[in-house]
Symmetry: C2
Subunit: 767 residues, 2 copies
């Protein structure tokens, strides 16, 4: 009954098996789409669809005409200038991570922003260099163009190496752009869901560690070669510390000073966020100051510090990527493509939720893909978005990608006109600026303890990702972490907390019998729950748990019974047993005989159902058997499997489940399955799960339906236990009266409610 | 009520929320083992435990003293001799797959069998060479010692290459033995569960294809170099077919003849299994015949066929593995270790179930590990068990590993004494014998169509495994297949078939509302079911589906309402609105104003709960609002989430779920969760899921409990709809009478059943 009566749950209905329920309640025949239907829909082509996709490919067509010029242009300009300045500095700083001359970072900050303006769907992210990605490109660069080990660092040599490195960075970027574009076209934007928060957090923390280690050489100004191989970070640290005495003190002091100032001012920006009209642009101030000091104090000459030096003037002609390089860095490109997209997309999503507009993962992939293809062609390196820079763009009032294009314009000015002002800047200052952006990432260490308390698996994912990415390198580390993460999902799905249930409180509630005192277990019935999907990796475990729960192995019982039957047949033949109306009576001493060995065919016979048709009497296994014959005691007659949490069952599992159920059926134990999902039965039917031993009639709607059915079937009402209950009930005034007349409804008539009897609803009263 | 009344399901109990239920039914406090407890138990060390492990390490100590000498010895000897002869032939044939001289196959058939006798737990498997494994070792051999490309195949050169190859095979075998031993000691025997039936089937089929292709060169007698790299099989085929004109016709004819004879006789063996006392040992007969023909017809001289040639006499001194080789073949060794173990274990398990004795996965790992370490030291190659040979051992009557040791003795005789008899045997005959064993594996192709009909995922796993293993090679292919398989589990777990439920048949049954006609959906209530675990990869999907089901995005509604409130405040302040007892009345024309732009802080304000405390009147969002102010219509007041299939919830999912629920709560929609698992609530509690907005009181035992609670709370009884129902009910004779006296039981009293009222159980009658 759906209407509430006081605060009561009162139900009276027939006991429903799935079959009965579906007979009584007409089921609509719904057409379920097949695999091919889905494919057809996916590839359907209508003019509207084509138009929509075409428009979707150029989001600018939608948002630019709707631009509220008067309201927005000013904040977009302010935001654009701020972001542009940050982009210039970050471009220079992150170029050090790529191991290319700083000037190339400006290209990475310029071209992708232009492309994103046209193709991007997020209005607030600032597209350009991102430290983690720069480092990943740098890894490939170092592997393909290692430092000259001979040590003859003549300037021609260095510039040749640099040129080669720029080429490698550009090629890797180009290739990762192609991958992103392909993924976008193939609608694979969903792959980011496989990068969980814990994984991204562990990964970016590891990347921060890599950034720190890779910047040490600039801070100390030491000639450290790059090691892009598993455990490379250890080699790098070893190299740094073995040369620590050769540190350039001027560089070290500058670095520490810059780091300190940036850190303190950023903290103040954070703390007095509300009071400050705009955050202090400390990075810009420090850069200008450092460049001035370096220029006037002539640090390069006096202390031998490394400076940015001459930037490339203007643009370089676009180049085709190097085919030889492409082949060698497929792996790097894939990880760069995925990480770049994942980071940008997650930042974009935050803003899209905050400002309530839609973004499209596949279109983002296309935008970044094209951005990287163009950027790579013009010798830039891979771009995504830096969290800090996007934060600047949004918080200084950026409304649309107009701010992005203005920031690109600022970068353009630096590239074309005022780049020379940065020439005297120390590389160690850039390194410190790069480190200044890492606080947030490094603070993620705090998550570990939180995760440990809340979810062990998530914590392990974090730690494994972190360690793998730190030790094995970012690309292999990421692959390892993703594989490990998938494994944890499998393990979680795979560990079913199987439990035996019992009725709690004498109504229709079944709970773990270990948890409650007030329980009732119907005699001879086991209610077994599996709280996870069942598939190849846990079906054996499920079987084991079930066998443990019932207390015997059905196959073994079946074999013992068949062996016993064989003996009985032999004894009957030998006249050692006599059939009487009371049962079998032993008439002669049975000579002891060891378990005979059985050849293979006869072993298989033992697994067949027991066949007593040729015997003059049915053997009752629970009663006394002739002497010398024993079979294991089986004290249950029914098993109810609660499958309400079995969200899927694969084919391996189905085969073993079928075999197990059959073994139970063959030793006369009834199996019932309760709470199976919509579609579960159909699937079993399709897979020929049912036969003359396993029937679809074993499916019941709920555990309680199955238990009621069992009780009725086994006629437990005649047991002494229930007699007591009946007596109790009859002395009870709280009953349901069902008169024999006046049953009007279809359902009631059909289900044949017992007429003229008082239906007992006193279950609450029975203990 | 647990006792059956007719075939009826009749329940009367209070509506239970989780909290109420746990108050009423005492919950036992069980100590749940923590992670550390498990660790402690795992590493606990008691004298019994130590003794048991020590005994477990040498299974022979248990089974040998119990050996029934008189009964078993004869069948063990017969079986041993048969198996031994097969082992000799297979050893020779499979050595060709490893690319080492045939004689080394005998070592692979001898040493591991010895070790397994002592350490193994299976009584029926025949330990020794296995084609798939031989091929995998062969892959490593070819990669590390490629054919001499210069083509100067002088005999010294060939023998040097062969020696090197034997060394590589031995080292790989040794290393894979070490891995197996380690896995066994670390109790990692469970890893085989990750190799599903479909995967093993696809993999062994692919291996069969590799075997066929690799034997072509012996059948045609062509100088084909080995290609162990991705797509190597294509290069091999290309090489074979480009040289096809150089085929040695004598070898080809012999091969085809042998293949035909073996195939036909094996078919006959199968067909007349019952009638034949023992299967015809056709391989042995063919070998003897072929050796005789080759010797007397002097095929080697006359037709230039390749023969086995001189076998190594006796044993060779044990060698330490080559450290250089070890380093280069770690990957191969891992896959060899896992595949070898997986195959042997699955065969062993079949026999252990058939003959009803326990086997121990970890001990098997130790046995095979030691076997391979010893075998590798004596220049053998990796061993596992061949299905065909184990079939011979068991079917000819083998009872214990005594048969195994006798078969090893036969191999020993061949090694020491009669090996020279095999010298004139053609290699092409051996190749054909190897191919003769593949029928079963190749027949597995038939599974594909069966799988496609029964389970698409399993079919895709088969095909992907097969293609990956054929094209990428067995080792990379296996890794790819396992990763892919894990992904399918994640995908299966991840695609929740979310559905909206409705009451079917007016009792306590809730089903997909699309499936039935006879449904009832309480007004303003959505019942939403998620039929899978919820974790990082599908939480977003879950949220989307939920938003689609309810028909609006709660965050958007909340923001619109907050914006509307802001406007109302402004209008009140401007005197454009007046508060009257009837509500707000607009007193002045509101001047149109575009949605003002909000700065960032104010945007965040919009996500806070609506706050009307400062207003003189509570706004009713469903009623008419002042002109110019609109909020989205929300026509539901409660959502019931059915979590009975949510077997786990990870931390990422929990955070997003919490956020989503909060959004609903903030627009005054009540959320209820029904059917959550044992332990689910505790976990949420531990993770600080609950606060003043999301309370643990939202958990109800079943959907029906939650629905009844909602109906009572929303007082739907006063709605016209129910009035009708009441009228109907009063004219109905089928009712439940609950007198005011005589309530005896604790439960009934406590739950305060309405006294003196007729409780309506006529739900069946209402439509």
């Amino acid at each position: 009954m759906v209407e509430p009566v006081g605060n009561h749950y009162i139900v009276a209905r027939p006991v429903y098996s799935e079959n009965l329920f579906n007979e009584e309640h007409e089921k609509l025949h719904r057409y379920h789409k097949t695999f091919w239907d889905h494919l057809k829909i996916y590839f359907r082509c209508s003019p509207q669809r084509v138009k929509k996709s075409a428009l979707g490919l150029f989001p600018i067509v939608s948002w630019l005409p709707a631009y509220r010029f008067k309201e927005w242009i000013l904040s977009d300009i302010v935001s654009g200038i701020n972001t542009g300045l940050v982009a210039v500095l970050q471009g220079l700083a992150f170029a050090l991570l790529v191991n290319v001359p700083p000037g190339y970072g400006l290209y990475a900050a310029f071209f992708p922003a232009l492309v994103y303006f046209i193709f991007g769907t997020s209005r607030h992210i600032s597209v350009g260099p991102f430290p983690v990605l720069s480092l990943m490109v740098g890894g490939a660069v170092i592997r393909l163009v290692p430092d000259d080990s001979a040590g003859n660092s003549t300037s021609t040599n260095i510039s040749a190496i640099n040129e080669e490195r720029v080429m490698v960075a550009a090629s890797v970027t180009f290739l990762s752009g192609v991958f992103q574009l392909l993924l976008g076209i193939l609608q694979f934007g969903f792959i980011v869901i496989y990068l969980s928060q814990s994984l991204i957090s562990g990964f970016t923390t590891a990347a921060a560690i890599h950034v720190v280690v890779s910047q040490l050489k600039f801070m100390f100004q030491l000639p450290v070669p790059g090691f892009n191989k598993p455990f490379g970070i250890i080699y790098t640290l070893e190299s740094v510390f073995s040369q620590i005495t050769k540190t350039n003190i001027a560089d070290l002091v500058t670095s520490l000073l810059v780091l300190l100032i940036v850190f303190v001012v950023k903290e103040m920006n954070d703390r007095y966020k509300a009071k400050l009209p705009t955050p202090i642009p400390i990075e810009l101030l420090v850069t200008v100051l450092a460049a001035l000091v370096s220029y006037f104090a002539d640090l390069k000459e006096k202390f031998g510090v490394a400076v940015v030096g001459q930037l490339e003037e203007g643009f370089q002609a676009p180049v085709a990527p190097d085919a030889g390089v492409l082949e060698k860095c497929i792996g790097d490109s894939i990880s760069i493509a995925i990480v770049g997209f994942a980071v940008a997309f997650s930042v974009a999503k935050v803003y899209s939720i905050k400002h309530d507009y839609p973004i499209d993962g596949n279109q983002e992939l296309i935008a970044f893909g094209l951005g990287n293809i163009v950027g790579g062609s013009f010798k830039g390196f891979a771009s995504s978005t830096a969290l800090s820079r996007s934060g600047v763009q949004e918080s200084t009032g950026g409304k649309t990608q107009i701010a992005g294009i203005i920031s690109a314009f600022i970068v353009l000015i630096v590239i074309l006109a005022i780049g020379f002002l940065l020439e005297p800047l120390q590389k160690s200052v850039l390194a410190s600026l790069a480190l200044g952006n890492l606080k947030g990432m490094l603070m993620q260490f705090k998550e570990v303890s939180v995760l440990w308390r809340k979810d062990k698996y998530d914590c392990v994912i974090w730690v494994v990702t972190f360690l793998a990415a730190v030790l094995l390198g970012l690309d292999i580390g990421l692959a390892t972490a993703v594989a490990f993460q998938l494994l944890t999902v499998v393990i979680r799905s795979q560990i079913p907390s199987c439990s035996v249930l019992a009725n709690v409180g004498r109504s229709n509630i079944y709970r773990n019998r270990k948890d409650y005192t007030d329980i009732y277990e119907p005699e001879g019935v086991k209610i077994f729950r599996c709280s996870s999907p069942i598939f190849f990796a846990n079906i054996e475990f499920f079987r084991e748990k079930l066998v443990t729960a019932v207390g015997f192995d059905p196959l073994r019982v079946l074999r013992k019974r068949n062996k016993a039957l064989r003996k009985i047949r032999k004894m009957l033949k030998n006249g050692e047993l006599q059939v009487t109306p009371k049962g079998l009576i032993c008439t002669a001493e049975h000579t002891y005989e060891s378990d005979e060995e059985l050849d293979n065919n006869r072993i298989e016979e033992l697994d067949q159902p027991t066949n007593m048709t040729d015997l003059p009497i049915q053997i009752n296994w629970a009663a006394d058997l002739p002497p010398g014959i024993t079979v294991p005691r089986v004290d249950i007659h029914s098993i109810v499997l609660d499958f309400s949490a079995v969200s899927f069952l694969d084919f391996s599992a189905m085969r073993i489940l079928q075999k197990t159920l059959k073994e139970f059926v063959r030793i006369d134990i009834d199996i019932y399955i309760a709470g199976a999902h919509e579609g579960f039965l159909d699937k079993l039917e399709r897979c020929a799960f049912f036969d003359e031993e396993i029937k679809s009639s074993m499916f019941f709607l709920t555990i309680h339906d199955a238990v009621l059915h069992i009780l009725l079937k086994k006629d437990i009402a005649s047991s002494p236990k229930l007699k007591l209950a009946e007596e109790k009930a009859s002395s009870n005034n709280y009953y349901v009266e069902i008169p024999s007349n006046g049953l009007r409804s279809r359902e009631v008539t059909k289900t044949e409610l017992p007429k003229g009897n008082a239906i007992d609803v006193t279950s609450l009263d029975l203990n």
